[in-house]
Every structure is written in structure tokens, then in C-alpha cells.
Subunit: 225 residues, 2 copies
């Protein structure tokens, strides 16, 4: 999962980032509204963890920005305030959930996972596309009822493709989604080629259709019909 933490208190911010990164997620962060908007304008995230009280304004501005841009990031508000008003305001402008400080990292993570599942998966926690079925809690992938074993990057890639099936995904977007924004790749996409190749091979070996289409000069598209 790829996450963005918007939180001005350094301690809290770093705790959250470390906690998620240890689990194999890509978690980025920033400490003010303007940096947040900058990031969101350029990158896509699965979920944004948003503090309301920021040095340069209220976090609600992020929600409004996302709505205006028709971005579909999930948003979980983290806030010191626990008034019903703030909570309702946040949920009204499009937040998915609300958590009051102080909180346990485990609870934060449980909520993020819950939001993500609600958005992405069906009621059985399975993301199904034709002969491919992904089970999130078990981190397993089945093709034609037969289980295949994917590495972390392959799994993340497949999930990303299926979540965006039918859309052309640029190589930069893939890199950004799998490695985060500190990844400097000055036009070298060799590792993407390699992971694509390996993922393709595993899927084809399991008699999947050839959904992974290369778009010359741009990136890839996971064919949906």
C-alpha cells in the first residue's frame, strides 16, 4: 500500500512512517498543507493520513483539494480534537474515517486496512478479475484456482495493475507506487522491465491470459476486456 502522512509533529510523523514501512508499505510524509498539496498534485496514494491542525492552515483544505481534483485517495483524519462537529465536518468533505489523538499505531493501521479493503475488495476480501483472484489477508494470488507465488514487488505491481485495469499506467507511476518518491531512476527503467517480465512469466505459466500490454513509449496497461 502507498500512503502519505500529513502531520506537523515530527515524532508522531516519523513513528507512523516507520511503522508502515516496516510492514512493506511505501509511506511518505510531509509537515504542512502546501507540501501536501504539492505531493498530491503529482503522486497517487492509496490512503492519506491527515492531521487537521497544520502550521499553514486546516487539513480540511486537503479534502477540498482532492474533491476538486476528482482524485480518489482515501483519507483518514488524525486529529487532537474530538468534537463531534469536527468529525462530522471531516466526514462530510469526504474523509473515510476519523481517529482522535492519542491513538495506538495498531489501531491506525487496522483502520487504514479497513478503508482500503472497503474501497478495493468485495465482501470476501477477494479481488477477482476473470481467472485471477487475489486474497488480501492471506496475500495470495490464484490463477485458475491454482496458487502462484509472487514476490513483494510482483504482488504490489499486480494489485496496482488490477486496481487500475483498463487504464494506461506510466512507468513513472509504477516506480512511484512501488518505490516511493525518493527513488531516483534518471530514466533507467531496467528494474521495472525485470519485474514486469517476472510477473508476466508467472501469470502466463499459470495459463492466465496475456493481460499485461506494453504501451510503447508510455508504460503498461492491464487489459480489461
Amino acid at each position: 500500500m502507498k500512503l502519505l502522512v500529513i502531520e506537523d509533529e515530527q515524532g508522531i510523523r516519523e513513528n507512523i512512517v516507520n511503522y508502515f514501512n516496516e510492514d512493506g508499505n511505501i509511506c511518505e510524509s510531509c509537515d504542512c498543507l502546501s507540501a501536501a498539496i504539492d505531493k498530491l498534485a503529482v503522486f497517487d496514494y492509496d490512503c492519506v493520513l491527515l492531521d487537521i491542525g497544520l502550521p499553514d492552515g486546516e487539513g480540511f483544505a486537503v479534502l477540498e483539494y482532492l474533491q476538486k481534483q476528482i482524485k480518489n485517495e482515501a483519507v483518514l483524519i488524525i486529529s487532537a480534537r474530538n468534537s463531534l462537529n469536527d468529525k462530522l465536518k471531516g466526514l462530510n468533505v469526504g474523509a473515510d474515517d476519523y481517529l482522535t489523538k492519542p491513538f495506538h499505531l495498531a489501531e491506525l493501521k487496522a483502520r487504514v486496512v479497513a478503508i482500503y479493503r472497503r474501497r478495493t475488495f468485495n465482501s470476501n476480501n477477494n479481488l477477482v478479475f476473470n481467472e485471477i483472484s487475489i486474497n488480501l489477508p492471506g496475500r495470495t494470488v490464484q490463477v485458475n484456482q491454482i496458487q502462484i507465488t509472487l514476490t513483494r514487488k510482483e504482488y504490489d505491481m499486480l494489485l496496482y495493475f488490477i486496481a487500475n485495469k483498463g487504464k494506461v499506467i506510466s512507468k513513472n507511476a509504477i516506480a512511484e507506487h512501488l518505490w516511493g518518491d525518493e527513488m531516483d531512476m534518471h530514466n533507467n527503467f531496467d528494474f521495472i522491465y525485470t519485474h514486469i517480465k517476472n510477473l508476466r512469466k508467472k501469470l502466463l505459466d499459470a495459463n492466465s491470459n496475456d493481460y499485461l500490454k506494453s504501451i510503447y513509449g508510455i508504460g503498461y496497461k492491464f487489459m480489461a476486456e
Copy 2:
């Protein structure tokens, strides 16, 4: 055991929480209906201790919520009212037991344990998974009818794995479950490796199948089937 206490009177609530936590349980609490629903939406509990008279509504709403969500938390109602009507209403909407205030903490605990056993274990108080059989009251484990001796950490780990069989469990989640969330482990999982190793060895020495699978970069999964 993981419990949730829903009770608005602070004194009673804290007494219950402390009493259960001293026994090595994980006992959380909240003081109103909406906070309770928030928690139940995200977390799973073994048993919910539910007060009926809450500031923002009747506790019965929790029972209805659990039924609607098809969650299978056990529920014990704690209430000042002891009218037959209320009792019947509670049991009708799915409560497992009913206790009238005032009560002794020892009685509360006895009832919770009774409910938990009734729900989780077969008639012999055993939690059985294939050739592994765990006896909760005795904290003993048998593999293929032969008893093996586990340390506290190993036992807790095994129980946690079997309770979450089929799901990938992150090392952070394991650490939290075994040591609590204050445990600061900045990327050092050596002790988890050690306990996993020891648990594995004991199970394999007793001719158990190799259920404990490592998920590279993430954590572990106890294979179900």
C-alpha cells in the same frame, strides 16, 4: 483474551479493565455507543461487556449492529435494570449472558470465561486444528496426541497464529500481540526470529506439518489447509 468494555461509569469501567488486564488479557474500553461502534467496526474481540444505559442510546444497538455485520463477538450484558423484560430482550437480540449490577468482578470473569469456552472450544475445552490440539484452561498443547511443552511466548504465538490462520501476520503485529504496543524495536526482530525458530522446532519434532510459513519482507502465515 481480547475484550471490549462499553460502560459510561468511569469507576466501574476502570475496575473491570484493570481486573482483566492483570490476568494477561487485552481489555479495551469506551464510554458511549458511537465509540463502541467505531471500535467494533475495526477490531475483533473475543467478548464484549455491554452496559445498556449509555449516554447516547441503549446498548441494544450494539447487539443489532453485531448481528447486521455478522460479527461473532460474544456479548455479556451488564445492566442496572434487572427486569425480566430487559433480560429477555437482550438475550433475544443475541446476548450470551446477562449480569445485574452490582456484581463481583470474580463473577463477571467467571461468566466471561464460561462464554468464551462455550464459543471457542469443543466440549472438551480444546481448540483443535488438524493434529494440533490446544487446551486453554490448562495452557497445554498436544500434537498427534502427544503433549509438547511450550514457553509462554511460544504458546501465545501459537494461539495467535491459529486464531488468525490463513492470514499474513506482520512482525509488528506479532510484537504488539506478544509484548504490547510500547515495545520499541526499531527494525530489530531478532527475538521474533528466535521464538519462531523454537516454536517451529518443537512442532516439527512432534511430527506436526510445517504450517508456519515465512512471508519474505512481511511476516508469517499459519497455513490453513
